[in-house]
């Protein structure tokens, strides 16, 4: 009897499976050819991380998906040690399934795990298209031996955690990496540069205190010369900073034929300002290339002078994007940065992930006078006639003084919108603007005077306060915030009463906007009644605010409440009548 039932069960299972197969055959997605199913699975894998094993859930949707995924080698060609950690056999199975498809490998090897990397380099080097290793170079650099052949290697990225001097084999590419286009070395030295050519991406990063040897400037220039299609060039700490190196560099930079890099999209250099100057004299950048410079050694205003010519030349050449916005960052006793971009607003983040503004210069002036000098020189060198938006949300503390801000605003003739946090920086900025308005065009010379003569002199009219940005990382301190809002009220009153050539007394500040209530912090809202008479337009959380409309809204809300209470038979509170006449004392900010 049991055998009969088992047979029947088996029969039913087969029948169910057959019905399921038939059902799947008429499912709309089954009408797609295998090629399209593969594309869908591939994009799914990309979206969840093709290097991890999590995308394979999609294989088990049905038999057809399983077969499609199994048979497409590309899906199995992304090899990482994260897969191996889940199951050691997976990496071997993946390599088998990937057939001869070019491999994209990413490894973070630990001591005992290097053997997998070694095996891949030994047996599959001929089909490694991209290799990224992140770990202690002591472990992986011996695996990258002399005489290795990399016939299809296109991208090599090596990132060493170790602080020790690590140097790749001098003849790593002796036998050829003919298709290598992207090279990224982080804290790793290399020689044999003459084997490299036609790079499209070169990124060389060396830590501050690293002893990693770097190529000499002439070797680097020769590599650039052999890479006319270079699109991204990143040199962090790779240009000489000692006196001897800088002298050699200066000598080389006077060569008569600069290197043309017509396709360059992004130049990112961290080096001594003399080294940056020399590099910029040696290369010709296309007008569209973005420039991100961290110039070390600029402690006084004169230091930046040598960079002004190449910066001016680059940003003013025909075809350069029109700069519409800028941001200024300042951290007391640390750095000051000026960013300008062709987008209507500029991100202020100093180390953005994907955001590449058209221009950014970071310097380290030590005194206010040095800051002023840097700002005067750099802002004059930038084509900012069309810039209308300034992001100052990373300005806080006592980084820049009122006098410095006055200088800044007198050099930015068309600026209309200033976005800033509610902090000490805001007070200095407002004082600086007020001061600039008070002085009008007095004492302006050169380009500034010519702009004033053309009627371009103006000052910001729209102040946008990021209410929660007080410079700290947690909830803003209410005591400090009270001080800042009191200062805001005082400064706007002073502005209203100021009688200057370009601003008659009694004219209020045009627009004040308060936004971004992180942590539910609403102090800006609490000050609305004090701020309202001091500005022409007060915008709170995106809406124009005035007390009459607010009272009307409150009355309407109370009327509705009374009706609801009546409808549900809830007794009316005794003080309802007195508060319904528009007293603000019982207002709930959350209702606004």
């Amino acid at each position: 009897e049991r055998a009969r039932l088992d047979a029947r069960l088996h029969e039913l299972r087969n029948e169910i499976q057959s019905v399921q197969l038939q059902r799947n055959a008429i499912a709309p997605i089954s009408f797609l050819p295998n090629e399209l199913l593969f594309r869908i699975i591939l994009y799914h894998a990309y979206s969840v991380d093709i290097f991890s094993a999590s995308w394979v859930k999609a294989m088990l949707v049905c038999r057809r998906w399983y077969e499609v995924a199994r048979s497409h080698a590309q899906l199995w060609s992304y090899v990482s040690d994260s897969v191996r950690r889940q199951s050691p056999s997976h990496v071997w199975e993946m390599l088998k399934r990937s057939g001869d498809y070019p491999l994209t490998c990413t490894f973070s090897p630990m001591d005992e795990e290097v053997y997998v990397l070694e095996m891949i380099l030994k047996k599959h080097m001929h089909r490694v298209r991209s290799l990224k290793i992140n770990g202690d170079a002591k472990l992986f650099s011996p695996l990258l031996k002399e005489g290795d052949r990399w016939p299809i290697l296109e991208h090599l990225a090596l990132d060493s955690w170790g602080s020790e001097n690590t140097h790749l084999s001098p003849s790593l590419f002796e036998h050829g990496a003919p298709r290598l286009r992207s090279l990224e070395l982080n804290n790793i030295g290399m020689s044999g540069w003459h084997y490299l050519s036609n790079l499209t991406n070169l990124s060389l990063v060396r830590g501050h205190d690293g002893t990693t040897p770097h190529p000499s400037f002439d070797v680097l220039l020769a590599t650039l010369q052999r890479s006319p299609s270079l699109r991204r060039l990143k040199l962090h700490g790779y240009l000489p900073s000692d006196e001897e190196g800088l002298m050699a560099l200066d000598r080389l930079s006077t060569q008569p034929f600069p290197i043309d890099l017509p396709l360059l999209e992004h130049l990112d250099v961290v080096a001594a300002f003399e080294a940056i100057d020399a590099l910029l004299r040696c290369v010709i950048l296309p007008p569209t290339a973005s420039m991100y410079l961290i110039a070390r050694g600029i402690f006084e205003g004169w230091g930046v002078t040598s960079l002004l010519v190449p910066i001016h030349r680059h940003l003013h050449q025909s075809g350069s994007p029109v700069l519409l916005s800028l941001s200024i960052n300042s951290y007391p006793d640390s750095y000051t940065s000026i960013t300008a971009d062709s987008t209507p607003t500029t991100e202020s983040d100093l180390f953005p992930n994907d955001y590449r503004p058209h221009f950014r210069l970071v310097v380290h002036p030590t005194k206010q006078s040095a800051c002023r000098s840097v700002f005067t020189k750099v802002l004059n060198a930038l084509p900012l006639d069309n810039a209308e938006h300034a992001n100052l949300t990373l300005v806080w503390g006592h980084g820049l003084s009122t006098t410095t801000w006055r200088k800044v605003f007198r050099h930015l003739p068309r600026l209309k919108v200033v976005r800033i946090g509610v902090n000490e920086g805001m007070v200095a900025v407002l004082e600086g603007i007020t001061d600039a308005v008070k002085h009008g065009t007095q004492g302006l010379w050169g380009a500034q005077r010519r702009r004033a003569a053309r009627g371009l002199f103006a000052w910001p009219t729209h102040l946008s306060l990021v209410a929660s940005n007080d410079g700290g990382t947690g909830v803003p301190d209410p005591v400090a915030q009270t001080h800042y809002y009191d200062s805001l009220v005082r400064l706007l009153s002073e502005y209203r009463d100021m009688d200057a050539p370009l601003k008659p007394a009694g004219v209020c500040w045009p627009t004040l906007e308060i936004d971004s209530i992180r942590h539910g912090y609403v102090m800006g809202h609490d000050y609305r009644h004090a701020l309202f008479p001091l500005v022409q337009d007060l915008i709170i959380y995106g809406k124009s605010w005035d007390p009459v409309s607010e009272r009307k809204r409150m009355r309407e809300s109370r009327r509705k409440m009374r009706e609801l209470r009546k409808e549900f038979g809830i007794p009316q509170p005794e003080d309802e009548g007195s508060s319904s006449e528009g007293s603000d004392s019982a207002e709930d900010p959350a209702q606004i």
């Binding site: 499912a27 997605i29 797609l32 399209l36 799914h44 088990l60 049905c62």
Partner: protein, 173 residues
Amino acid sequence: MPTIVSVDDSTVPGEGSSRLLLLVSSDNKHIVVEEDIMSRSRFISKQVEGFEATSQRHAILLPFSSFVLNKVIEYCSHYRGYYLLEDDPDAAPPGRSPVREWDQEFLDVDRNMLLRIIKAAHYLEIKSLVGSCARAIADMIRGKTTEEMREILGVENDFTPEEEHSPSSKCTG
């Protein structure tokens, strides 16, 4: 293979600066469209090249409905004159770039419609639209369990219990 039929001059509006094509959908709707708009389709471009050999005007019969065809034409009109990397036959296959914002809105349709569009785009050889549709479908199943994926895609689990629990199907690695 599509059927190419000759049409009278009266069917197609007069020629302007950009030539006009007559597309006939499977529900027999005649849609006149500028050749420039459809130049993103390699299939249509190849057909047009074929026409140039003869002096006759032609209509192109397509095996999908006018509703789907109109969606494809809307896509092609939006990107008329734009260079899209995915449509470049010499460009490397696209990687993990996200769906363009406009495409996201354009492809905010039900599953069956999305499948019809991808099939039509595949037929017409519009690589950029195929890529956007494939990404949109991939996004639908992202972060879902296998069972949820089956539900979204409207398919049944047709593995036997043995297959489902066998090491080779789990691997997957």
